[in-house]
């Protein structure tokens, strides 16, 4: 019933609108204003452009300043500060161009509105001016490219040797985390070995995987370079850590990586923001299906000592899943003889080569 009422009101409104429109046309024909080529509307529009510039500009400036505090995620990585500087420097440059060009656009529109009897200035081209406004943007761009390129090569350059290494794997719809254990080497994984318990697809016949452990959240030490190795096991995902200014796709079949150095522990950030519940978060930033918007993982930045303590407490995957390990051992026992045989063959060949 209410729906019918609303529909009726809408239809009536449309009829009223139509009638008003018709009346307006008829009056403008009657008054002769429709026959005039340039009417008062020309002046009205010119003034509206100026009003738009002033009111719109003020509203933009006000809302920008009002929201400025909320729009910057607090920075917690070394390169984050550099990136932030680059971002706001560029923003200031484009901000200046934005304001100047818009003032010209709207002021010209107002100032050079049609006036009876005036003739426009015939000014088809001027090569000197063209060159000036080709060269100046080119120089500014060159500066920005150079600054960006320097930063980009630094960020994407090789990770320091002493980096803490960990692996993040995306799946629909959460993140899995793996640490290399005491040997600092991530073991071999194979997507064909994935099942409900072996979510990573550990190939435990590889010895370096035996001490690898999986974790429910990411722990990293403050002040140490961290190298993220990134994988996906189904569709594209993207590791996005806004506070660390980190982003990299997770691609099935193509491991990717990103390294960064955290600068503030979770506790320090909580104190800084006055928010005891604050957590660093990892979000998925590449459309991946139904649960894309909820694909979250917490990141904890510890003091180095706390990190070491946490690391020491972790139990390896193979220790926690003895049956998976046993499975691999059975398989590898069968293979041992074969391997021994081929290894022996290799020794023989080498010996033969050496004797040459």
């Amino acid at each position: 019933m209410i729906a019918l009422g609303i529909l009726l009101v809408l239809v009536l409104l449309l009829v009223v609108f139509g009638l008003l429109f018709r009346i307006q046309i008829l009056t403008s024909i009657f008054s002769g204003s429709s026959a005039r080529e340039i009417g008062t509307s020309n002046r009205v529009n010119a003034i509206l452009f100026i009003i738009f510039m002033i009111v719109g500009g003020a509203a933009f400036a006000y809302s920008f300043i009002e929201n400025y505090g909320k729009m910057n995620p607090p920075i917690a990585s070394v390169h984050g500060f550099e990136m932030e500087r680059l971002f706001w420097t560029t923003m200031i440059i484009i901000g200046i161009v934005f304001v100047l060009t818009h003032i010209l656009l709207f002021v010209y529109s107002y100032k050079y509105q049609h006036k009876e009897g005036r003739r426009a200035y015939f000014f088809p081209h001027n090569n000197k001016i063209e060159i000036i406004w080709t060269v100046i943007p080119a120089i500014v761009m060159a500066g920005l490219v150079f600054a960006g390129w320097k930063e980009w090569t630094k960020i994407t350059g090789p990770a320091p040797k002493d980096s803490v290494v960990l692996e993040v794997m995306g799946k629909q719809f959460n993140w899995l985390v793996r640490y290399p254990g005491r040997d600092q080497k991530l073991g071999v994984v194979n997507y064909r070995l994935i099942d409900a318990t072996n979510e990573f697809g550990f190939d435990l016949s590889d010895k370096s995987g035996l001490d690898d452990f999986v974790a429910g959240e990411i722990h990293v030490p403050k002040g140490h370079p961290v190298l993220l190795k990134i994988r996906s096991r189904d569709v594209l995902h993207a590791v996005y850590m806004p506070h660390f200014r980190v982003q990299m796709y997770a691609v099935p079949g193509m491991p990717t990586k990103f390294w960064f150095t955290p600068t503030k522990t979770t506790d320090e950030m909580r104190a800084q923001l006055g928010n005891p519940k604050f957590n660093y978060e990892l979000a998925c930033n590449q459309i991946c299906g139904r649960g894309h918007f909820a694909m979250k993982l917490n990141i904890v930045v510890d003091e180095p000592d706390d990190y070491v303590a946490w690391f020491a407490q972790q139990k390896s995957f193979s220790e926690q899943n003895p049956d998976v390990l046993a499975n691999f051992q059975q398989k590898s026992d069968k293979l041992v003889e074969k391997e021994n045989a081929s290894a022996a063959a290799a020794v023989v060949t080498q010996a033969a080569k050496a004797s040459l």
């Binding site: 426009a120 990134i230 979000a283």
Partner: protein
């Protein structure tokens, strides 16, 4: 005013006495002498470029309404993520689950909104309409080089539209992997139901769409190269034609690459190949695909995808240049520089595609190269902007609705273009990639401003299309509502983006990092929905004026280009008599010494002795 108009049949009948300019036209003319065509061939399966243009335009308007409606739906969800939308279930059926929008359907809405707006509205609707309508009229040709191919181009588009439209209503929902359809998500129905039949229909529809684009493009290029009237050298072409011509070249060179990407994706989906798939474990099963690369798809996609944004924006640039000059009563400033920058943009648009892929794991060195090339493309864009501003300077501006939209275009192009400098910088893009900053950027620079170009074009050439004028007052209301609305939507969206909000999120409520700005998102949604409803003013104006608008005169804007030398409603063949020859460039506005403030292109220098510049004299053979 309307008294002395030649009637439709007079216009067509007159063609018989015309001196044909090419043998091809001979056929046309011969055909037209018995012009009592069946209505089916006159209005539906027409080979007249003007009818085809209108078909593209009206189909484009239909798609724009659909695309806009979809965006209103997902903006409802983003503005009011905690609300229930039970009242939508009569329209959306099972996609409303217990009052909540289904998250997979949300992704489908986003995907289809993008696909529809980019391809069906701004490529087919914009370029299809105006390239078809203006190329023959402005270069002085009786029709396109091949009217038949032109007709096919529309009907392939129509077929493609039908298939895409059908996909909105199927059981598993339309394609939902984003308009960029990145595999593996788009390849695996196990990953998202939209990648089943919905994706198949998407691919088939796009394949047909590409065929339509290629048929159109070949035709536009051939027509511009071969069918220009006497005296119409390339250096006398209006900037609209230069823009359409280069757009067609871009389309012709890049759409086939999308076709190949789609084809390989079809292979991966249906025939078990592994072009884009590798090492996948999904839904409890390890797939056999190995050795493919999802990144390869992205290279192929963006090899089209990036020129595509210029395919969308360049026709708008051309039309805006024309409209700004006409209504400032001034020559476009730096005609040659404008052509040069169009050429520069066209060339560079092919070598910047991977700036969409800085953080995909692509080699960082490649990233450096693409950053360099991307920031170079800002230079010709800047030159264009300055030239437009210089065109307004010391003009005598008439604010027709088309002029308002053109000024709006310049404003939006600046606002959206400048943030491209941020995103093109690989180091900053690490943080900004796939956030709402990107969404705000491209909606301003290629979405809204291309729409403004489209509106400007419709308001400006409506008199030539339908022989009547659009209502100016409604046009003013439409413009101001849209101009303010667009800024209210997309300016605040930058703030949301700088804060790092990811795009294509059903809700941000799960993250503390993205919990601020709930109010701002409500505001954006409200503004977007209002601005969308504002467009119905235009739609009313459009259809009302076709039938009851004020009658137009031959040259209502006192413009110089050839289309305004045709009768109010040009028939098939465009000019009843001989095609006018061209003697001068298209921007002789307010020339010192001239009697009027415009001299049409077909007026020889010998008739304008008082205004000729020293080097200007007729070089008639």
């Amino acid at each position: 005013m309307a008294a002395n108009l030649p009637t439709h049949s007079q216009v067509q009948g007159g063609i018989g006495v015309t001196e044909p300019s090419t043998t091809h036209h001979d056929e046309h003319l011969h055909h037209d002498e018995h012009h009592d065509q069946h209505w089916l061939f006159k209005y539906v399966f027409s080979q007249d470029h003007k009818v085809i243009a209108k078909q593209f335009l009206i189909t484009g308007i239909f798609w724009a309404i659909i695309g806009g409606t979809l965006s209103s739906l997902f903006r409802l969800q983003l503005g009011w993520p905690e609300s229930t939308f039970e009242w939508l279930s009569p329209f959306l059926g099972k996609w409303i689950e217990a009052g909540k929008l289904n998250p997979e359907f949300y992704l489908a809405l986003v995907t289809m909104h993008g696909t529809i707006m980019v391809f069906f509205v701004l490529t087919a609707g914009l370029s299809g309409t105006f390239s078809n309508f203006l190329i023959p009229l402005q270069i002085g040709a009786r029709d396109m080089a091949s009217g038949f191919m032109n007709m096919l181009s529309y009907w392939f588009f129509f077929l493609s539209s039908i298939i895409m439209f059908t996909s909105l209503f199927i059981e598993t929902g339309p394609a939902a992997a984003g308009w960029t359809i990145y595999p593996p998500l788009s390849a695996l129905p196990q990953a998202i139901p939209g990648s089943g039949l919905g994706m198949t229909l998407w691919l088939v529809s796009m394949a047909l769409f590409i065929v339509s684009q290629l048929l159109g493009g070949v035709n536009y290029i051939t027509t511009v190269i071969n069918l220009r009237t006497r005296g119409m050298s390339m250096s006398k072409l209006p900037l609209t034609i230069w823009a359409f011509f280069l757009t067609a070249v871009l389309g012709l060179l890049s759409f086939p690459v999308l076709f190949s990407a789609a084809l390989l994706l079809i292979f991966d989906r249906s025939f078990g190949t592994s072009f884009f798939l590798s090492d996948i474990y999904i839904a409890g099963q390890a797939l056999n695909h190995q050795g493919g690369s999802p990144i390869l798809f992205q290279h192929l996609f963006w090899f089209l995808g990036h020129p595509e944004v210029y395919i969308v924006i360049m026709p708008a640039m051309g039309m805006v240049s024309e409209i700004l000059a006409t209504n400032s009563r001034k020559p476009i400033f730096g005609y040659r520089a404008m052509i040069g920058s169009l050429l520069g943009i066209s060339l560079l648009s092919f070598v910047v595609w991977a700036h969409h892929m800085f953080v995909t794991g692509m080699n960082p060195f490649l990233g450096s190269v693409f950053m360099f090339l991307t920031l170079i493309i800002a230079v010709p864009s800047a030159v264009k902007t300055f030239n437009w501003l210089a065109t307004l300077w010391r003009g005598n501006i008439r604010f027709t609705t088309a002029m308002l939209f053109s000024i709006g275009f310049v404003s939006l192009f600046i606002s959206g273009g400048l943030t491209g400098i941020i995103l093109g910088n690989a180091a900053i893009d690490i943080q900004m990639h796939n956030t709402y900053f990107v969404v705000a950027h491209f909606h301003l620079v290629m979405g809204s401003s291309a729409f403004f170009g489209l509106f400007a074009g419709v308001y400006h050439w409506f008199p030539k299309m339908f022989g009547r004028m659009l209502d100016e007052k409604l046009g003013y209301i439409h413009f101001w509502l849209t101009f303010i609305g667009v800024y209210l939507v997309f300016m605040p969206m930058h703030y949301v983006g700088i804060a790092g909000f990811p795009r294509r999120y059903y809700a941000w409520t799960g993250f503390d990092s993205f919990s601020q700005f709930a109010d701002l998102n409500k505001f954006i949604s409200a503004a977007a929905i209002l601005a969308f409803f504002g467009q119905f003013i235009f739609i009313f104006n459009f259809f009302y004026s076709i039938f009851r608008g004020r009658r137009a005169t031959e040259n209502p804007w006192n413009s110089t280009t050839l289309e305004w030398t045709t009768p109010v409603l040009p028939g098939h063949g465009n000019w009843p008599g001989e095609i006018p020859a061209v003697y001068r460039w298209p921007y002789d506005y307010s020339k010192p010494g001239a009697a009027e403030d415009f001299i049409p292109q077909n007026v020889p220098y010998s008739q304008t002795q008082s205004s000729n510049l020293p080097y200007e004299r007729d070089t008639e053979e």
